[in-house]
């Protein structure tokens, strides 16, 4: 494999209400925009590897609703939903996002910035307050991927 260059994304927390993630993909913006907005594509990649996308509704128009549900192997469901606010293919996509069961709603803006055939995705999440932002970050801790931090988890649990 020649295409295994380190391409991990970055995360920053510019303010108490924000999360910004950036990641470069080896595809044109058009394609990247499609894989975020067409259910047949989303089902192929969304979620950590142990999960399956079991619901993927996308009504891609301003004011249209979306709802994605991922199911863990044990059957537990995690659902995200919201409404599209801005659709500007293949440059920008803005939607509200609610982690069902949690309070509040985030405003999520995806920007697709193509250069030399590669596209930088910027995912900007704006929350109502710090508690909800932190809640979103913290929820990530329960969603899987434990391998690297297991020891630290154990340590934290023992404090």
């Amino acid at each position: 494999m020649t295409d295994t260059i380190q391409r991990e994304g970055t995360i920053t927390l510019p303010s108490d209400r924000e999360i910004v993630m950036q990641r470069v993909f080896n595809a044109p913006a058009r394609t990247l925009f499609d894989v975020w907005t067409k259910p047949e594509h989303v089902r192929k990649w969304y979620g950590v590897r142990s999960t399956t996308v079991t619901v993927c509704d996308i009504d891609l128009r301003v004011g249209g609703a979306w709802r994605w549900v991922v199911t863990k192997p044990q059957g537990m469901e995690i659902a995200f939903s919201g409404v599209f606010l801005e659709i500007d293919p293949p440059h920008r996509l803005q939607r509200t996002e609610c982690f069902e069961g949690m309070p509040g709603e985030a405003l999520v803006t995806l920007s697709f910035d193509e250069k030399d055939g590669q596209t930088t995705l910027t995912m900007h999440m704006l929350f109502e307050n710090k508690e909800q932002r932190d809640g979103c970050l913290h929820s990530g801790m329960e969603l899987g991927v434990r391998e690297c931090y297991q020891k630290i988890d154990e340590l934290l649990a023992s404090l």
Partner: protein
Amino acid sequence: MRTIDPLSATLAALSDPTRRAILEKLAKGEATVNTLAQPLKISLPGVSKHLKVLQKAGLVVQGRDAQRRPCRLNAKRLQDVAIWAERFRRNWEESFGRLDEYLSEITKKETPK
């Protein structure tokens, strides 16, 4: 030099796999630079460099014992929101890894040669 806020310093420190490995090792108990270097198969200066970053981020503290200078984890710092952010990023990174694979699959189909 640009001043970096503590949260960003923690995030930057955690973004490196070797430094995460060092933290994992220290989660089991304090260790010297030597004992950290061996299993990680990196040079002593290499470990020292990583430790400096971890220390600056407040994730690791180094003892005063002149000979051994043992390192230990600063567990309090680990409860920081930066830890959650890094985990959040890694969850997304797993999706993005799948997306990379999927993109190479569909772009191959789109450009038959």
